[in-house]
Symmetry: C2
Subunit: 243 residues, 2 copies
Amino acid sequence: MRADIHLIPSSPLPRGISERSVVVIDILRATSVIVRALSQGVLEIIPVATVEEAFEMAKRCPPDTTFLGGERGSRKIEGFDLGNSPGEYGTERVNGKRLILTTTNGTKAFHSVSAGRVIMAGSFFNMGAIARHCLDLGRDLLVYPSGDMGRFSLEDTVCGGMLIDRILKEGKEPVALTDAGQSALLLYRRFKENPVEALRLSTHGSDLIKRGFEEDLSYCARVDITGIVPIFRNGVIRIGEGI
Amino acid sequence: MRADIHLIPSSPLPRGISERSVVVIDILRATSVIVRALSQGVLEIIPVATVEEAFEMAKRCPPDTTFLGGERGSRKIEGFDLGNSPGEYGTERVNGKRLILTTTNGTKAFHSVSAGRVIMAGSFFNMGAIARHCLDLGRDLLVYPSGDMGRFSLEDTVCGGMLIDRILKEGKEPVALTDAGQSALLLYRRFKENPVEALRLSTHGSDLIKRGFEEDLSYCARVDITGIVPIFRNGVIRIGEGI
């Protein structure tokens, strides 16, 4: 097994992605929202790239069981039901419903890697479950940090490094690392005693603090609080069956 | 001042490069060769992308003062005078001459950043001199690791992190880091007691070891052995005047 990480979203995808497991990570905050919402009973999530697409999609879904979530400029979008803080997605609000989600980086990322063999949503919340499922699949892994407007992001890379660390520790077979995979692992180990420090140090994390979302950083840094593995397939994210 | 590093050569260049200082790094081994050759008396270096261009360029230069250096598949090219090990470039062989150089990654890198305001060649050999010159220039910095066939390379990133570390320590004004700059700094600090360890761990470093060039790794990891600052301008690399 080989573990690689695509450090910069705007760089060309590596070859052979159609044979790989892909884990999309947008710790602040799209994949944290996705994992939290599904763990609280959302039935399916439709990630879309633009606000217009979100409203269009909502028109085609039953209104009583569909709601809109996401952000632009970190804030809730006008006419939407919820923003992009995972804490908002409690079971009383979301259970049994369909979420149409659009965020600046994360929701686009799923469409960028749609050629992947198996596409998962990873966060600190479900790190152990994602690592075990990657090991069960046994395929080469591409971690896909959503980044920050096409650029490298520290917080997603550190979370990707944690996934690689888990796979190295729990796997029974040798795992080969690319230089990028090795670097993500080393960056994660620098922060492993306190992952929230990486979130605070990151450009996007400090922007969120300035905009009043400081609580989201410690919320998103909680590790292994759920065992679900969200799978993106045919444009929709659902909890993987039989995982 | 702002310090950034372009982690992946195949990703799009950031905006505003024409106002920035750019430091090209190909530790294994093009910029190590460039710094060593100039420190041993080479008058100018013409970096070219292909072997054909190297032979064409040589035809247009006086044969008694021109020689060819570089590699393909890490090895000396047929018909060339020298390979890509900096140790080969001693004063007895190179003093007073013009070097036409072509390597797999490094020589292309200079042409990729030719829009930069000031373009320097950096290596461990001249790290202190490069840091001081970047501080004297006072412009925003883009470190440009040459990478490995368009991909991220650990060894160049660690060397770029050392440059950022020096600039932070020696500068009198605050330096803002991008997430990529911050990550390179953290990766460098992981290896700062023993930079050659990063070279050994890297994909390209282990390939060089397999191909019989192990000595080049410790050779290239020597820090601050010369004070020269090579500048790339109009297609030619020379020692910067008055630096």
